[in-house]
Symmetry: C2
């Protein structure tokens, strides 16, 4: 808070590139940071570099931002502004949900280091809220019960975030299949036969196919898994065993 009103400026002063100083603001700091992240990568989004980009000393930023963690959270949410929370082309709720998560995933993947920010900061900025609200709505439309919906949103975002982070950190390495793939391809067939047998798939590059498969996995599971505590009025007994309710499942094949 204490957000200096951005309209309060006396006059416009050449804004781009020029070293001419303009009054700082929280927004300007976040803009500069996201800009730096986009153009120069995550290693260059330090407070000092951001300050330098704004042509001031590192101490100055502390007037607008509590600490570096807060700056990162603000940058993340600013970037999440690009996530499209609805897709007017898709009418089926499942497709709209897939489309939303894909947009989220793509935005996180669009800048190196952004996904890493999303993992470290629990996103609760205005844009994160917009995304969560939309996801809850879609799941509700799909008939998912409320609490399960809340947990499901967490699970879906966790997954999309983690995959984005995993892939983008691979992107950081010059060699796309650097040490991990190398180690896996070297696994001996005798000591680890199953890994050996699927060593290709474990590191497989086809991110899109995997992403859609996992989304399908998550949605099916979410639609079919009731919470441990069934929604019927419980008897006098206290709330419950930590253990999952009995599987009750046939063994589906294929």
């Amino acid at each position: 808070m204490s957000a200096r009103n951005p309209f309060q400026a006396p006059q416009v002063k050449s804004r781009r590139g020029g070293p001419a100083k303009e009054p700082l603001s929280r927004d300007a700091v976040v803009d500069a940071a996201l800009d730096l992240l986009t153009r120069e990568g995550p290693a260059n989004m330090s407070l000092r570099k951001v300050a330098a980009a704004l042509d001031t000393g590192p101490a100055t930023l502390y007037a607008y931002v509590e600490d570096v963690e807060e700056l990162q959270a603000l940058v993340l949410d600013r970037a999440l502004g690009e996530v499209k929370t609805f897709d007017r082309a898709a009418h089926d709720w499942r497709h709209r949900l897939a489309s939303l998560l894909e947009s989220y995933f793509n935005v996180l993947s669009s800048r190196e280091g952004l996904a890493q920010l999303a993992i470290n900061a629990i996103a609760v900025g205005p844009n994160a809220l917009r995304i969560i609200e939309a996801l809850l709505g879609l799941l509700d439309e799909g008939g998912v019960e409320r609490t399960a919906g809340a947990w499901a949103v967490d699970l879906l975002l966790l997954y999309a975030t983690a995959v984005a982070a995993e892939q983008s950190q691979r992107a950081g390495n010059p060699n796309p299949l650097a040490p991990a793939a190398l180690a896996l391809s070297a696994v001996s067939a005798s000591s680890h036969p199953r890994i050996h047998a699927v060593r290709e798939q474990l590191v497989s590059g086809d991110g899109a196919a995997r992403f859609h498969w996992a989304l399908e996995v998550l949605l099916r599971g979410i639609l079919e898994t009731p919470r441990a505590q069934p929604p019927r009025p419980a008897p006098a007994r206290r709330a419950g065993p930590a253990k999952p309710a009995r599987p009750t499942r046939r063994h589906p094949r294929r």
Copy 2:
């Protein structure tokens, strides 16, 4: 520092605690680092602190370790040695799988910062391989097809790791429900009605119930979701919307 030991006898090199030098080794470095992580937290597992704990200068460690990233990977795998890959009490493959993932989750949660390491490093050390091999075996036992099994292992570990990281970083904050819960509880009912309705569950503390619910979601989904591309020779048509054509760069590298 560098308190020269007055007892600096050319004696046997008393191994614990004493500043008497013993020959370093990669193992000793990893041990010291894990020890530091366990006792002093992730912020204190810097190369410099590890070197200091071993009573030497920071440059010395580079004889045993490529860089800090490698050290972190080694520490992670050392810690993963504690994961129990089989549980003789449980006979059902589902329970054994749940038990294994729980053990993995518990180990990552046992030291602050460990889960964070697991997210950043793609785990391919010997203990990670042991865990992956065991998971592949369990899924095979459950009738999951090979490639789906490989993807499923990735998904299951990703989830367990992400949850551990999410929770442990909450643990870092003095107030367990610090800024995230606060922000969520403040969400207005009019602008975000669905979030408002489930604001409790979104941040809900009952980690165990959620973990089991999610595991159930993942397993059901995995068992019931065939891969997008059926194993028959595909016709000319493409399977999906097929996101971006990947760069296909093939630099020999290194």
